[in-house]
Symmetry: C2
Subunit: 238 residues, 2 copies
């Protein structure tokens, strides 16, 4: 039986051997939720960057550019890190590529590229992630983006939710991280939005916009779509 493990921070990734495994990169608030939403809204592909300047440079190639630093949209970019940027009709996104850079999510993604397959997870596409894991029958490591390298609740409880979906088919008891994440998910599940309101990260993003984003990002299985890393970009898995 393949196993499911959870890495609470990109800083801990050197302790994990991703070879032969599926890495599920998760940054619930908000990078991976936004990437799922972008592809669902008809964006053709998403190219992640670590640096603002290299990301912005893609504009001349016709890309929409999206950048967030410390929770806010960076200046000179078309979009921030809100999933509503792809939904609100202000920008025509269908058929476009998106170049994106975020504080935590991009780093987690780049550090995960040693895995056999790298996919993007969010509550919005939880079942699509679970189905891919079942199809692959490989060990899965959930890579939490965290907050500047630190543990955060929202990415952790996503790991717990995925473990719940895969329990019985995957060994979800082999690491204390997975055991803890499942217990925290049990606490969170009855009212995920209410649960995350206590989190330090959410309180840091304390604003009407942030709360609307969060209410959106905690929806389960809104999109039957799996972003997957292919040829240096994220595309919807066929």
């Amino acid at each position: 039986m393949p196993s499911l493990d959870i890495c609470f921070s990109p800083e801990l990734l050197p302790l994990y051997d991703l070879r032969g495994k599926v890495a599920v990169v998760v940054d619930i608030l908000r990078a991976t939720s936004s990437i799922v939403t972008a592809l669902a809204a008809g964006v053709t592909h998403v190219v992640p960057f670590s640096e603002l300047e290299e990301c912005r440079a893609l504009a001349v190639q016709g890309y929409l550019t999206a950048a967030e630093r410390d929770g806010r949209q960076a200046e000179g970019f078309d979009l921030g890190n809100s999933p509503f940027g792809y939904l609100d009709g202000v920008l025509a996104v269908k058929g476009r590529g998106v170049a994106i850079t975020t504080t935590n999510g991009t780093r987690a993604l780049h550090l995960s590229l040693g895995a056999d397959a790298v996919v993007i997870g969010a509550f919005l596409n939880l079942e699509a992630v679970a189905r891919f894991a079942r199809e692959q029958q490989k060990d899965v490591v959930v890579v939490c983006a965290g907050w500047k390298g630190m543990f955060n609740l929202e990415d952790t409880v996503f790991g717990g939710a995925l473990a719940e979906r895969l329990a019985g088919e995957f060994d979800t008891t082999g690491s204390d991280a997975t055991l803890a994440a499942r217990q925290l998910w049990e606490q969170a599940k009855p009212d995920l939005a209410g649960y995350l309101l206590q989190s330090a990260h959410v309180r840091r993003l304390n604003s009407l916009e942030a709360h609307e984003d969060m209410a959106f990002c905690v929806q389960l299985d809104t999109y039957d779509l799996l972003p997957i890393w292919q040829d240096d970009r994220l595309v919807a898995n066929a």
Copy 2:
């Protein structure tokens, strides 16, 4: 109000600024439980080492030597990592110094020395740790030794237990790590030994001796004693 934060792994310590703070180093199974027990049993001081050879070298100076690697006593040492080594009467420990090296605990301790005060925490001396924190009125960071750098349950729920004791006097809501640890402690508290039997680490130590050690290490407030770092050694706080 000072704050209480929890660092889940020594690998994450570079993200924490320990200056001006109290570091509580915790390695429940079993290094810090054993150090508390050793000092309670009349050991005069404990000197921690990273390497086996430098630790063993202290024998010629009259030290008892204690070493654990991968959960087992290392060859050529007087003691392993079991607290019973200080209690079972086989070795006379009263009035002796102990040189110790363990897989996880020593590393966590050495990485914590940038703090204003470094103390040793265990369930066995939980209230002594809480009292010291109240007296100091400085921010506290619980440094979990973890398992080879990874998150573990036993050190985390100790952090949650300390947060519970200090709630109202310390800000225990400022980080997601502390929030999670408190929730996990709530799960663990009614039957701490039973709770930890699920942990990957405990299952790894699956043996009669390990279970006896665990049953000992989960006792609350057995010793009113606080090991504190002073002049390159751990001594009982006056």
